[in-house]
Amino acid sequence: MGNKQRKSRVNVSANSLRFDALGIVLPCLLIAFWYIITSYGRIPAYLLPPPLQVGQVALDFAVGTWQVTPYAGTLWDHALTSTIRVLRGFALAAVLGVPLGLLTGRISVVRRFLDPTVNMLRTVPGIGWLPLAMVWFGVGEKTTLFLIALAAFFPIYINSAQGASSVSPLYLRAGQMLGANRFSLFTTIIMPASFPSLAAGLRLGLGLSWAFVVLGELTGVTHGLGAVMMDARMLGHVDMVMVSMIYIALLGWLSDRILTALLRLIQPF
């Protein structure tokens, strides 16, 4: 294969990576404000620990040098546990959501069969499933997976269906005219043409997976960043709660970058 030209997309991502000084002003001000209100005793540390303390706890959580909290050095263990849960739940949602969504978008019988039910279930907020999930699956692993898969399924399903149903009929005609049968029309026209929409659904789904792994882990598992958060709250380590939030945000951001890169690998266009 030759070098494929990827002009436009590379430009777009280059733009989003370019450093813009204006964007850094507000975070600096917020941190300064945070520093001021915490360092002059206006707000006690048990409510809002000062930024330097949070920074040290965050670093300690990763490397374990100072042992300032009981969680020192355990970041990788918890992060790995949460990541695996996210990946499993997300994979389940994608495996169900993508094919069902594509079929819904293309086949009227499937759409009429599935769509009303999905849209009805979709109106129940994801958090609202928590008590029922705990009754069905007990506290912990299975409940977490169920919540993630359920929450991530809807955007994946809906975007896949949307993408498949809005494939230009001209592409389909061109494909038929060039000798594509029903099956190859699906794999070589409908799937790649729906890909941008499908990819957007997957990214939304992955984002929700991180939100719901925290929800699942708040309910009495011992490992995972959500569990650390809940545990730290009960032990009064507000700094650890904040640090967990920061690492979840970082992991969510990182996983989105990786997913985007993978998707671009599948379809460079």
Partner: protein, 261 residues
Amino acid sequence: MIDNQQQELIIDHLYMSFTRPDDGVPLKVLDNISFKAGGGEFISIVGPSGCGKTTLLNIIAGFEPVQEGRVLYNGQPVVKPSPERAMVFQSAVLFPWLTVHENVAYGLKRAGMKTSDYKSIVKDYLKMVRMQGFDDYYPEQLSGGMQQRVALARALVLQPAMLLMDEPFAALDAQTRLTMQELLLDLQQELSTTVILVTHDVEEALYLADRVYVMSKRPGRFIHDLTVPFKKPRTFSLRGAAAFAELKTEILQCIFDQVDD
């Protein structure tokens, strides 16, 4: 020579009407169309916009069902699209997720050809439409004229017996259109594919075709047909010839008479 005279496509008393979606009133689009095509002949169909000429082409391609009348291809009723009757659309309709090379290879792949076999064929056809070296470009990186060349290669690579063209150059700028017309004329001479070209550009119709059908406004029927007397290969200077201008006026008159009443 007898083989050359064989008529591949027979349109016999074809009628077509659509139901207007807003009020359900049937709208007659095609009114008793009959003609034959084949043997490497170049046929142009001209008519005012909205006269049903695109619908006619869509029926021949197999994109739209035959309602009344017969459309036979090699003696068989046309029921679905086939690579034997390849279409070039008004916009190129290249697949934007495939490179130029992959777009042209698409039909060959569907026919079960292996990569090693089609690679050089694709290159030959890209060269034929003067697009050599653009193999790895994506359609969005090409101009409209270049995209249409690739669309032409994508259709011709399947060696269709019949090439259906739906105002293929209408969206191009004037210079590009002229270049594309020359290219099409050359290619058609070289490959002796039967071509049915639908256009509203009278000069284009006349310059390229062996036979021209003039369509009325909707519901479309043939109100005039003429055999173009100029020998092929034709050259650009023909456009300035008096006899060419006369025929052009004859066709334009036909269309204007229609529009007036």
